[in-house]
């Protein structure tokens, strides 16, 4: 039905059976100059980045920044105007079937067939990914059990709750044991139990070698889960780094919160080496300086000189929220 050829081994069902495959792929996703316009609006503007194999990559950005458009281009749902996206060694435009065979997709809104049962949806996925029937049945049973849906497998999806639908979608995306998983806000609007179940499974999958491309608004989720995050603003990639490095990079100054067992003169604190300013907040002091290590050393030496005991000492690093807000300032909502 078209001219693609299976030149790679990326579409094998069980990567564990083909240990050599992993060494062939330096980057799981390589994006170069990807651009998409809708009329006069540039939704995605020449973005380039790479996602390494085995990585959990967080893709963040405010509403309308171009996250979903990028994800849809990467998953071959819509074509890019210019630029390339190579997924698992296959250009998504030139070899879409071979690329799609290697990844699974969990969209933000459930798109299972509501007139089919959970089991029928999974069997359909098995056939669309070319899985032998026995393997599809085995994988479907395992996944439904893991995700707590086995008892409801013969019920129409119409009767599922939002959390159940989302878990089913995850099972559908994982049925062919993909090496790469795209997730768009997978826990958005879910209860704590479903959220925890999904996040635990993502961690477990990643430990097993699955690369994860996660689009999320949840900074805490990205902070806890992702090895690296990319932040997109108005269609352009404005930051790409590990969450901790991003947090550190946005602020030249570091803050430390300290409290002593007795009153300390504020002007003595400001005279300490490395301290830029000292602000009183309740029974604590917030000390600002350029280097966190020398600040802590100065405070410890100072407390010894003053004969004071340090009761609490906290480093106040900027959160990923801070980094996100700083990097996306001025972006249209």
């Amino acid at each position: 039905m078209h001219g693609e050829e299976a030149t790679g081994n990326y579409w094998v069902y069980d990567r564990r059976l083909r240990p050599g495959v992993q060494t062939l792929i330096p980057d799981t996703i390589t994006v170069t100059g990807l651009t998409k316009t809708f009329g006069a609006t540039i939704a995605v503007d020449h973005i380039s980045f790479a996602v390494k194999e085995g990585e959990i990559f967080g893709f963040l950005g405010p509403n309308g920044a171009g996250k979903t458009t990028t994800t849809r281009m990467l998953t071959g749902v819509i074509p890019a105007d210019t630029g390339t996206a190579v997924i698992l060694g296959h250009d998504i435009r030139r070899e879409p079937v071979l690329a799609k065979q290697g990844f699974g997709v969990v969209p933000e809104t459930s798109n299972a067939y509501t007139d089919l049962s959970g089991w029928q949806n999974l069997m359909l996925m098995g056939e669309l990914y070319g899985l032998p029937k026995g393997l599809a049945i085995e994988r479907a049973s395992d996944l439904l059990t893991t995700l707590g849906l086995f008892g409801r497998k013969d019920q129409k999806v119409l009767a599922y709750s939002k959390g159940m639908k989302q878990r089913l979608i995850l099972a559908m995306a994982l049925l062919h044991n993909p090496g790469l998983l795209f997730l768009d806000e997978p826990t958005s609007g879910l209860d704590v139990q479903s959220t925890q179940m999904i996040l635990d499974l993502l961690r477990e999958l990643n430990r097993g070698g699955t690369t994860i491309f996660l689009t999320t608004h949840n900074m805490e989720e990205a902070n806890r889960l992702c090895h690296r995050v990319g932040i997109i603003r108005s269609g352009k990639m404005v930051a790409l780094d590990a969450p901790e490095k991003l947090k550190a990079a946005i602020d030249r100054y570091h803050r430390i919160e300290v409290s002593f067992d007795r009153e300390i003169p504020g002007d003595a604190l400001t005279r300490l080496p490395g301290v830029v300013r000292a602000d009183r907040t309740g029974d604590k002091w917030q000390i600002t300086g350029e280097d966190r290590d020398s600040l802590i050393r100065s405070l410890v030496a100072f407390s010894q000189q003053q004969g004071a005991v340090i009761v609490t000492l906290n480093t106040l690093a900027p959160s990923l929220d801070d980094a996100f807000l700083r990097l996306t300032q001025g972006a249209s909502p």
């Binding site: 039905m1 078209h2 799609k100 969209p107 299972a112 067939y113 359909l124 056939e127 669309l128 990914y129």
Partner: protein, 251 residues
Amino acid sequence: MNPAGFREQARRAWAIAKKDIRIYYVKGPVLIFGIFMPVFLFLAFLMGSRQLPLAFLVSGLVGMALFFTATAVSPAIFPWEGQAKTLERLASCPITIEAIVFGDMIASTLFGIGITLITVIIGLALGLTLLHGIMVLAAILLAAFCFSAIGMLLAVPPTNTPSNIMMLSSLIKFPLVFISGIFIPLEQMPPWGLALAAFSPLTYFTDLVRYAFTDGNYFPVIVDISALIIFTAVFTAVTMYLHKKTMPRRL
């Protein structure tokens, strides 16, 4: 296994067809509509045209049944699935747009054949004799595929509002029935009517069915079959090409 190879894509198209049959075709209202619509049209015409022989009218009934059933549901599948976002799910699966369209056509073909065979049985029950049984089966198979391609062609405009497509579908389907020699024998048509009829694949199918029941036909059998083959090939190729073009605008 090469996932992009023809054989594998054909298997996946069959999965699409099974899904369509389960979700869209094996439904009471759809089945009832599929049978009642052509039967009522036939009865209405039977009342008003008593001078026409039964074999002519039954041939028309078979033609209408196949045409209406094979094009009844398929035009609305893409808009429905676009609306429910399940089309996006299919677009991210390793299946080509051609295979999705082909799968939809298979489902529509099977539905058309199933309902049409009932009308053939009605004809036999009314006392008609099937003179060329193999011919009518071959014609039904070929025409069902051709009409399914027409059904999918009607779904090309990239809208996710099924009612828009159904309106367009009716605007095209009903006039086609009237120019295809179903209600007026081709022999009695004016030259301009015959010229129009030549552009309708339904004309050639009805002519073949008439031949199967009466041994009489307007065009030679080889012309009817060749025309149906050409229409099927052209409509299938065009619908696949156009869906590939318009699919991104639908998603």
